[in-house]
Symmetry: C2
Subunit: 357 residues, 2 copies
């Protein structure tokens, strides 16, 4: 369905139509110049050769320091997607199952299916602010449950898991011997505090990325923090798949870390303004939504809406959204990415409201 939408966008744009694109989770900000310059400097210094499949020593050490772990626990990955695929490839066998709260980021389900692993969906609802129901979680677990994937803050709801709920989830995972893979790629630019999975007991896995915090989506650099044994397996998998993230990209990531506070604050402030604007418009409508705790998304719904046909029709009015069915069984909802200027957000939401009348 997302494919159908992007095909239609390309067709309309080639006809000269202007589309307000709420459908992409790619920040409109450019990568900061200092980061680009750092990559260029590294290239000129010859950092264009094969290197460690674990990541550059300096970068791993910096990340280890920030997360209070050893560098042995850190593996630099080709984006967070590769970290997630690797963990699932290495931990799961065909016939195992993985619990995924919904709405979810599409890649979790597709990866599970690609590996012959059963995804078990833990549905959350806008009415409870997308809160994970602990009893429902317990009911989904059996002896073939190996992994629970948390996305905190969540794409597409932008909700952060409440600390108390998270503690309960971790307790269940620890009791049942289930590993949690916590995808926290939006946490460094969250509007509210995000409790890190490493702050809890247990052998859980943290996945992070430079993409969102530093407007570096297309650079493909992220990292994982895991127990040493799993980290070593990931390095071995890197050796036979990707060799290494380009060293000049890692040098850029190192520069990004240096400038983290400044860059993250700027992005956070910008998206908070946009979220406030979107919420103030949405709250005057009959749409049901939960106020975002983090960039970049709002996930409003409307009683009885078929978001797939709505999304296709909306394109003809010049607005692109992602239907809720792309994130699980959430047909009445749709995702809006606030990766646009305030003017475009205002105009786009106006068109959406009109189309819903």
């Amino acid at each position: 369905m997302l494919y159908e939408i992007s095909e239609k966008i390309m067709r309309l744009e080639s006809e000269g139509k202007k589309i307000i694109k709420f459908n992409l989770g790619d920040p409109d900000q450019p990568t900061p110049n200092e980061i680009i310059e750092a990559a260029f400097e590294a290239m000129k210094q010859g950092k264009t050769k094969y290197s460690s499949s674990a990541g550059e020593k300096k970068l791993r050490e910096e990340l280890a320091r920030a997360h209070k772990v050893s560098a042995e626990n850190v593996v630099v990955t080709t984006g967070s997607k590769w970290a997630i695929f690797s963990v699932m490839y290495l931990l799961l066998k065909s016939g195992d199952n993985v619990v995924i709260p919904t709405p979810y980021w599409t890649a979790y389900e597709l990866t599970a299916k690609s590996l012959g692993v059963e995804p078990r969906f833990l549905r959350t609802e806008v009415g409870s602010n997308w809160k994970i129901d602990i009893e429902k979680l317990k009911g989904l677990i059996d002896r073939r449950t190996r992994l629970l994937i948390l996305n905190n803050p969540n794409n597409p709801t932008s909700k952060v898991i409440d600390e108390k709920v998270l503690a309960e989830i971790v307790q269940i995972a620890n009791d049942e011997g289930i590993t949690i893979l916590s995808d926290e790629v939006y946490s460094d630019i969250s509007f509210v505090e995000v409790k890190n999975i490493l702050d809890f007991d247990g052998s859980h896995i943290l996945v992070k990325s430079f993409s969102k915090t530093f407007a570096m989506t297309g650079w493909r650099v992220g990292y994982v923090i895991a127990e040493k044994e799993l980290a070593e397996k990931m390095v071995k998998l890197n050796q036979i798949t990707l060799t290494n993230v380009p060293v000049f990209v890692q040098q850029a990531a190192l520069k990004a870390l240096e400038l983290k506070e400044e860059i993250a604050n700027k992005i956070r402030d910008e998206y908070r303004r946009r979220a406030d604007l979107a919420c103030s418009i949405l709250s005057k409508t009959k749409m049901k939504f939960s106020r975002p705790d983090a960039p970049f998304y709002v996930f409003p719904g409307y009683d009885g809406l078929n978001s797939e046909s709505f999304a296709l029709n909306l394109l003809d009015k010049g607005v692109a959204i992602a239907p809720g069915t792309a994130f699980g069984d959430h047909r009445e909802h749709f995702r809006i990415a606030l990766t646009l200027s305030e003017e475009e957000i205002e105009l786009g939401l106006k068109k959406i409201c009109e189309a819903l009348k």
Copy 2:
């Protein structure tokens, strides 16, 4: 074993020892400046965003033109390793087997094992100039044989498969319904003509890379040419694993293609001189070797040699080599990468000859 060697190299170097490193297949030439500048320009133009999982349209079209296929058959990959892993991941099921001529590049075997696939080794010998024996090949094939991996030119022997032999291999594969994955990453800088797998009948797969031809090893960009159906599956796998090769890296690759003749000629000439030098030294010894048809390697052997202990001892004399056991059951041989200056090659080979006395 290679790990043990690189650990020992690091220890010796940290003690201030100088090591002549014949053990790495990474050209000593820097990436040409024009290619670096093209990447920098692209970054400054904002080519730092998510993009197509198939690769940039312009790059795919250029590659399609060069190989006389449609752009639909081309997928840009994160290095040739990812192309090989993807093909094996998508085509092979646990219990299948894959035929791999030896000596072979290590990743083929490790990838097969990682996927639960049986590698079946087709041994070749220095005595016949590492020629593939057609009868032996036939004997290895059964109904679970899905793939035959050719590395043409070969790492570590640097031999190109004779056109007549290649035609016979393709005929067998076509008769038996086996797909050939032809890894031709050294072909554009080969000293002799390499017959491309796409020049033959059958649904076979070509894997290429920018690494060796353009001294771009650390950039991680390669490509695959395959039937449309497989290419589409590879794009889908890219979507859940890597998203895309950074667009600025693809812009660099595009610039590389523009300068291909000039850059490839320079690298070919340089390595031909080095190969001539190495052969003229080796031919005065009792070592058995086959003259390289292509960069970067020579794979000499010595009767009764244990190349593993030889390699470890040689390190103390300041020379690093890769023992033959890293490329299959070839204990009497070792691999020398000519990715060093002529002075170092001369000095290093002298030390090897002394150590063999």
